[in-house]
């Protein structure tokens, strides 16, 4: 199955700063998703982004499928952005089942 690697593992920011999180995957994927897990454990789907770029408010994501990576951009970070960000891709081919990276833990300080 595919391997999903995320970097950096930890990130500490001051409120208002911008950041870029990276996700590398070992094989081509047709289903790449980004999630945010808040400090209470709830996982929220941020993007389904097999290729191209999407934006949602201060967050945007870009997947370059041919080069097997995806980036999540957070602009003007807020304390509520704190938590763990996960990317996930299908275990193989067109599988519905996702394998998750280990996550990037983001702390935004006031």
């Amino acid at each position: 199955g595919i391997q999903v690697e995320q970097s950096p593992p930890d990130l500490i920011l001051q409120e208002g700063a911008n950041s870029t999180l990276r996700c590398n995957f070992s094989d081509s994927v047709n289903n790449l998703q980004w999630f945010h897990q808040n400090p209470w454990g709830q996982l929220i789907n941020l993007f389904y982004i097999p290729s191209g770029t999407k934006q949602n408010g201060r967050l945007s994501a870009t997947t370059v499928a041919t080069e097997r990576y995806s980036l999540l951009y957070i602009s003007s970070s807020q304390t509520t952005d704190s938590g763990v960000y996960f990317c996930a891709g299908p275990t193989q081919g067109g599988s519905e089942k996702l394998v998750f990276g280990k996550g990037t833990k983001l702390t935004v300080n006031p």
């Binding site: 289903n31 998703q33 519905e96 280990k102």
Partner: protein, 114 residues
């Protein structure tokens, strides 16, 4: 909004007990999933169901079984709970179409086996 509801937020069970974790989704999704999340190990897939009565094993099915008798409900069963099954259990669903492929997760059940 799609809702995935897990019946319990916290559970404490004794070793050897049979444990049922329930998950219900309200958007007629074909696919439902059970993951467990452990520090240092991340999220790992236990079981996947793509239709009523249909299931596939995930990466770590040992010690677990599942039941999907109705489309909206997917149950995870720990036949004989053990302390190494203490974990956060997360249920998810998606509609399986290419229009909107994203997973929706429930809020999780933190299970402690003593």
């Amino acid at each position: 909004d799609v809702k995935v509801t897990q019946s319990s937020r916290y559970l404490v069970k004794r070793t050897g007990e049979k444990v049922f974790l329930e998950c219900v989704q309200d958007m007629d999704h074909e696919n439902m999933f059970w993951y467990r999340q452990d520090p240092g190990l991340g999220l790992r897939l236990i079981y996947f169901s793509y239709d009523v009565k249909m299931k596939e094993k995930g990466d770590i099915p040992e010690g677990y079984s599942v039941s999907r008798e109705k489309k909206e409900r997917f149950s995870l069963i720990l036949e004989s709970a053990s302390t190494n099954q203490t974990s956060m259990y997360l249920c998810a669903s998606n509609d399986g179409s290419r229009v909107n492929y994203g997973y929706t997760f429930g809020s999780g059940t933190r299970l402690t086996v003593v």
